[in-house]
Symmetry: C2
Subunit: 202 residues, 2 copies
């Protein structure tokens, strides 16, 4: 598909580099932008410039923010003795959306994945250990995805924190999902949910 | 989902305005951009600025181009007496990709669609009639999508060109698609393919 305009070609190539967007979709998006007002598209471009040039990561928890420290770490009403370890900013948003958590976070920036060339040194694990070793943390909640990579990272962090005696290390509960049909639940999940059964509170 | 950074929020909103992209996908794309080199993202933003500020439409056929006249209209090796009427730039690219057409194009910029508020005056129909009336065109091929809107537009153009006596008006063939299973073909298409049967050339 030979594109008749250099500028069109460049914009399409840029969109096509995004994950999950092929050249046909990229073309559709760019032609959509061409139909919009020029100011709208300039605003789109400016938002990308601003994003990469102005966005910061929180010095404490590595969540995304506009200043030095994020709103959650700066808040007086949050429980700073409880630290929830998550993989990404999206996970922070997902947990915040539940409105069930009042502690603070620590964003690793990924999980250990040798297949993708991601080792512990690529993640914010050292800063987590320093943060816990500083002494004000009572509980570390490991809230990584229940995948092989997530479990590996859980174990790695658990060992790294072994010297911090006064800290409880917990993981989020795993079991059958709310509203799932029991007979459609996979064996590993169902097996785990039986082993981890808990007293019924009527 | 409350986003902790104004700049992140703005970029996500911009992506979420694109067709077929919701807020979750927008967030994924923006977080992907944040992982890229700053220069890459600046290049992305610049490509959008350049697109809306530098791209032109061909004075003759309204295809997208970087100058005054597109490469196809400027080419000496194309047959300028045959004009293929298409809905969009994407259709030009699709027909060019077949390598079966050596004429020129006329991009309408859409089809007549009262439901979407698009009337004949919103399309490049007047310029088509003027182009044909100028006298150098021998054949007009109507290559719009075989939908109700496309058919309506076909008829409208056919009537508008009725005064141009020396011009053949044709439409692209409709029938069963290459490699389609006959029993999966819809009734309208199959019916049309029987009515429009042609001599077998063995």
């Amino acid at each position: 598909m030979e594109i008749p305009s250099l500028y069109l070609e460049r914009a399409v190539s840029q969109f096509a580099q995004l994950p999950g967007i092929g050249r046909k979709t990229a073309m559709r998006l760019v032609l959509h932008l061409l139909k919009r007002e020029r100011d709208d598209v300039d605003a789109f471009a400016d938002s990308l410039h601003d994003l990469v040039n102005n966005v910061h990561y929180c010095r404490v928890c590595h969540n995304i923010c506009d200043g030095d420290i994020c709103g959650i770490c700066a808040s007086q009403s949050r429980d700073h003795a409880t630290v929830c370890v998550v993989e990404s900013i999206q996970d922070v948003l997902a947990i915040e959306a539940t409105q069930q958590y009042n502690g603070v976070y620590h964003v690793l920036g990924g999980v250990i994945s040798p297949m993708d060339g991601i080792g512990p040194q690529d993640l914010e694990i050292t800063s987590l250990v320093e943060r816990v070793a500083a002494g004000n943390v009572k509980e570390v909640i490991l809230a990584l995805s229940p995948t092989m990579e997530g479990d590996t990272t859980d174990f790695y962090i658990f060992r790294k924190l072994a010297d911090c005696h006064d800290v409880d290390i917990t993981t989020i509960a795993r079991g059958v999902a709310q509203n799932d049909q029991l007979h459609y639940t996979d064996e590993a999940t169902l097996g785990r949910s039986i082993l981890d059964r808990k007293p019924f509170r009527g």
